[in-house]
């Protein structure tokens, strides 16, 4: 079965375009506009990768990554943002983020980054 990817971005156009591109590439995709569902008991899918925007309505992308890895320690996180997150953010120090892609990026760039993070060699 194709690996499941979680997309969290509050901007609908980007979120839906990302989901469409990843689905076209053969991944199973679920898209959220916020990280709120991570506050619940558990996740209903074994996500291998999460593409998370830094600026989310309730928390930062880094905090979302920390919560996500509590549920799924093996899930990898690709942070996307128009600027790199501040280096003094404590979560950045924890190494919860596995990759970063600066907005705006192309379809090729996101597919290349996702492919790289899902390849076992990159672990």
């Amino acid at each position: 079965m194709d690996p499941w990817i979680l997309v969290i971005d509050d901007e609908a156009v980007t979120r839906e375009a990302l989901a469409a591109i990843l689905r076209q590439a053969g991944y199973g995709v679920e898209a959220w506009e916020d990280a709120r569902p991570l506050e619940g008991r558990g996740l209903n899918r074994p996500y291998r990768l999460a593409v998370v925007d830094y600026h989310l309505p309730t928390v930062t992308g880094l905090e979302a990554a920390i919560r996500l890895k509590r549920h799924l320690p093996g899930c990898r996180v690709l942070l996307i943002s128009s600027e790199p997150p501040p280096r003094d953010d404590a979560a950045w120090e924890l190494g919860v983020v596995d990759g970063f892609l600066a907005k705006p990026f192309s379809k090729d760039a996101i597919l290349e980054a996702v492919g790289r993070l899902l390849t076992p060699a990159s672990w």
């Binding site: 979120r15 907005k103 990026f105």
Partner: protein
């Protein structure tokens, strides 16, 4: 506030020195005048003493002469002498001897034979038998004279005695000027010596060898030839004492300097007086100079205080960035200087405040711009990805081509936004560079991947010709990305379809320190010499792009130089362009 003034000591020294110089001049003048006056008084004293001595001498002489006449003119004595009543005569004249102070009283008969002879012990033995005075008296003449007798001078006088106009005898009177008389004449500090026939007879000088007094005759001869009256005052050393001396003639008019009196006044007191005078004058003068210097020191205190405050104020202004005013304590030029300085620092403070406000405003603009760029980037991502997701959908190829054009347009827009953002950060001083070792081939490859869709869209080949073994650069990666992005976009826009844009790299061999060279080349239309002039200046772009902001190459130059590098162009019209970057090389690991 405690005032420390280095000027104070100098000022004090200057005041003291000028006062001392002025006072020394004044004191020398006073000393000269005072010494001259004291010397004049000394000379006058010598003269006065000399005149007193002379007066005493003349009194003696007059006494002798008057006594002789007094006795000779008494008719009783003539009668007694004529009648031969000598014992009666002796009895009558005996009191006269004591009353007049005479030392010798002799009466002869008309033959010159002594009939009465009276004398005090000092006058014993005076022989008058050959006395020329007696002979003159027998001839009816009254005379007087001065002679030496033993260690004294004898003053004697003779007068004829008549009885009814018949000469019956001669009366002879005399006194002696001996050492006791000379000592009586001398005053404290003033000594007297009598010379007879230019020979010392009697003197009151003590502790002076007589031969030295005798040698005075030599100086006497000098006096004789000079001004004899009043001007013959000399300074002589007798024994171990200094004297001021003068000579008074006693002889007859034709031989005035045969017999004379010498009067000497000891200079010991004079010298002591002169030393005391000098001590008093210079002591008082020195004290006055000190008092004057301290007074002027006190008066200049305000001035020195203002100078010290100025010095401290200027130091504080430099140290504490123009903090506070200098206290103005004087109303002179120094006070005005302090006020001017305060006015200057106030103006500078105001300017500084305005500059800080301006800086804050620019920083706020940079922040605002940063936020705008962020707000644009996020939706732009959605637009781009949405268009790209349509690629695999059933979109007609013409439509897809137009959609690609939109994507590339958005790339150009983003490039300009980034340029403006970096420039505002740089100009507001908020662009932080973090140099690190950056492999040049990877940096260039990332950019070429990013601009690959644009290159495809423009049908231009993109090539990374940087050798993999090239050592890393020592640069701030985000800013160098900006530089290369601008150069690549410019090159792609300048190159016609079918052309080629390549990035080459190598070591810069001729550089004095380790540098790498990156060259962005294109096969475009190239740049004329005129176009190349001022190419890297602000708002001076640019080839083939009327919509350009003119910031791209200015940004390239600014950010390259901020990274310690250089940028230049080599191009000819029709033969493409080569934009060169010389950049610092990272030090070898462990080196």
């Amino acid at each position: 506030m405690k005032v420390k003034s280095k000027v104070g000591l100098k000022l004090f020294a200057i005041n003291l020195l000028s006062l001392v110089v002025a006072l020394v001049g004044l004191l020398l003048l006073i000393q000269y005048l005072a010494t001259r006056q004291i010397l004049e008084w000394h000379r006058q004293r010598v003269e006065l003493v000399a005149r007193l001595v002379l007066a005493e001498y003349q009194n003696k002489l007059q006494l002798v002469v008057q006594a002789a006449h007094l006795l000779a003119d008494n008719p009783t004595y003539g009668d007694l002498l004529a009648q031969g009543e000598m014992s009666t005569l002796r009895t009558l004249v005996a009191p006269t001897l004591k009353a007049t102070g005479l030392q010798v009283l002799t009466i002869t008969d008309s033959q010159g034979v002594i009939q009465v002879r009276l004398h005090d012990p000092g006058g014993l033995g005076v022989n008058i038998a050959v006395n020329p005075l007696v002979r003159a008296g027998l001839k009816g003449k009254a005379t007087s004279r001065m002679t030496q007798w033993q260690e004294s001078i004898s003053l004697s006088a003779a007068a004829p005695i008549y009885q009814h106009e018949r000469l019956v005898g001669v009366v002879l009177t005399g006194v002696l000027i001996d050492k006791s008389f000379v000592e009586y004449l001398s005053r404290p500090g003033a000594e007297v010596a009598l010379f007879y026939s230019k020979r010392l007879v009697v003197n009151s000088f003590q502790d002076v060898p007589e031969e030295e007094l005798a040698s005075l005759l030599k100086s006497m001869e000098v006096a004789e030839t000079g001004n004899a009256r009043g001007g013959n005052i000399h300074q002589l050393k007798l024994g171990n004492q200094d004297y001021t001396v003068t000579y008074l003639p006693l002889g007859e008019e034709e031989k005035p300097w045969e017999n004379f009196i010498l009067v000497g006044v000891n200079r010991r007191e004079l010298d002591a007086t002169l030393v005391t005078l000098k001590l008093v004058i210079f002591g008082v003068g020195g004290a006055a100079a000190l008092v004057g210097a301290f007074l002027s020191q006190g008066l200049s205190l305000g001035m020195r205080r203002q100078i010290a405050l100025l010095t401290e104020g200027t130091r504080r202004a430099a140290r504490e960035e123009l903090a506070g005013d200098i206290p103005v304590t004087s109303r002179d030029e120094l006070g005005e200087l302090a006020e001017s300085f305060n006015a200057m620092t106030r103006a500078l403070r105001e300017k500084t405040r305005q500059l800080e406000e301006e800086r804050d405003r620019i920083a706020a603009n940079a922040d605002f711009l940063s936020m705008i760029v962020h707000d644009i980037k996020a939706p732009l991502t959605g637009v781009r990805l949405t268009i790209e997701s349509l690629q695999d959908e059933t979109v007609p190829p013409e439509m897809y081509q137009k959609l690609q054009g939109i994507i590339q347009g958005s790339e150009g827009l983003l490039l300009h936004l980034h340029n403006v953002l970096y420039l505002s950060r740089f100009e507001s001083g908020r662009l932080e560079l973090r140099p690190e070792a950056v492999p040049p081939r990877f940096l260039v490859q990332r950019l070429l991947t990013h601009f690959a869709p644009l290159a495809r869209h423009r049908q231009v080949a993109l090539k990374n010709e940087i050798p993999a073994e090239l050592p890393p650069l020592w640069v701030d990666e985000p800013t160098m990305e900006r530089v290369l992005a601008n150069l690549l976009v410019n090159a792609l826009e300048a190159t016609p379809p079918g052309g080629e844009v390549a990035v080459q790299g190598g070591l810069l061999a001729l550089s004095p320190f380790p540098e790498l060279e990156l060259v962005v080349t294109d096969t475009g239309c190239g740049l004329s010499r005129e176009e190349q002039e001022g190419l890297f200046e602000k708002y001076r772009e640019r080839r083939h792009k009327a919509s350009s902001s003119g910031l791209g190459l200015y940004i390239c130059k600014t950010l390259t130089e901020a990274n310690g590098g250089r940028i230049w162009v080599a191009s000819e019209p029709g033969r493409g362009a080569r934009f060169h970057l010389a950049l610092p090389m990272a030090a070898p690991e462990g080196g």
